[in-house]
């Protein structure tokens, strides 16, 4: 799957489905389960229909709204890159400490972290 066509063309995978939605919506819009299933159905169909390596197929879904002018602006939206785990919520961090201990939950890397619950 991709919503960044030029980047995927450059990486040149064997097969890809292009969904022309804003970044952060590679597999569809939030809370639109029917559309999400249809996107997945059409994307997976390409496993069977693409026969030439390097093929990228555009999926026929249209984002409702004019989002591209803003996406083309050269603005850096990245947040600072901290080298410690960045939890969505403090409660998540507490659950990770319970599961993995203070040291691991707060250390930069936890390779192959397997949920233990």
């Amino acid at each position: 799957m991709t919503s960044a066509l030029s980047i995927t063309q450059s990486a040149n995978p064997a097969r890809a489905a292009f969904l022309d939605f804003p970044l952060g919506h590679t597999a569809g819009r939030p809370n639109e389960p029917t559309e999400q299933v249809e996107i997945m159905r059409q994307a997976l169909g390409l496993f069977e229909s693409i026969t030439e390596s390097g093929t990228i197929v555009s999926l026929p879904f249209i984002w409702p709204g004019n989002w591209k002018p803003e996406a083309r602006l050269p603005i850096d939206h990245r947040t600072p890159r901290y080298d410690t785990p960045q939890y969505q919520t403090d409660a998540d961090r507490e659950r990770a400490v319970v599961a993995h201990g203070e040291l691991l939950a707060c250390t930069a890397c936890a390779p192959q972290d397997v949920p233990r619950s």
Binding site: M1, T2, A4, L5, S6, I7, S10, A11, N12, P13, A14, P22, L23, G24, H25, T26, A27, G28, R29, P30, N31, P33, Q36, V37, M40, R41, L44, G45, F47, E48, I50, T51, S53, K68, P69, R72, P74, H77, R78, T79, P80, Y82, D83, P85, Q86, Y87, Q88, D92, A96, A99, H100, A105, A108, C109, A110, P111, Q112, D113, P115, S117
Partner: protein, 168 residues
Amino acid sequence: MDTLSHTPNDPVDYIAVTHETYDKLGYGSYRWANEPDPVALSPLPKPLADCKLALIASGGIYAVGQVAFNHKDDLSFRRIPTTVATEDLRTSHFAYDMTAARQDPNVVLPLAPLRQLVADGELGSLTEHALTFMGGIYSQRKLREQLIPEIVANVQEMGADIALLVPV
């Protein structure tokens, strides 16, 4: 960098936008992965309805109870049970707008729609775990030498026939 020579409905050229953004910041040009030739296409080994699929996503998704990703070239990955409840999924990333992903993680980790296709008989099954990582890693060498081999080994150990990559 010319990002103006497009019609309004053309796909956004994020490589050009990134070059322009970095130029404005005084950074050197970012070198995107560039492969002149695609890898060989592997035909499906069996009908899709019989295939086991491994879902791999780079949107910084973790499950409640797991250690979140750091944002400084984190080369670790998480194994998330494909039976996980959507409300137990979280995201941690520095480079994309996570508003939608936090409303409904299926937009970056489409487990619910894939489970529906399995239930409908259109897809055979899902591997025991989906594999997730934090895609903002700026060293392609470290990806190739460390993270990708570990992910490939995990996908093979889980007996996947096909893999679906969902970047952001």
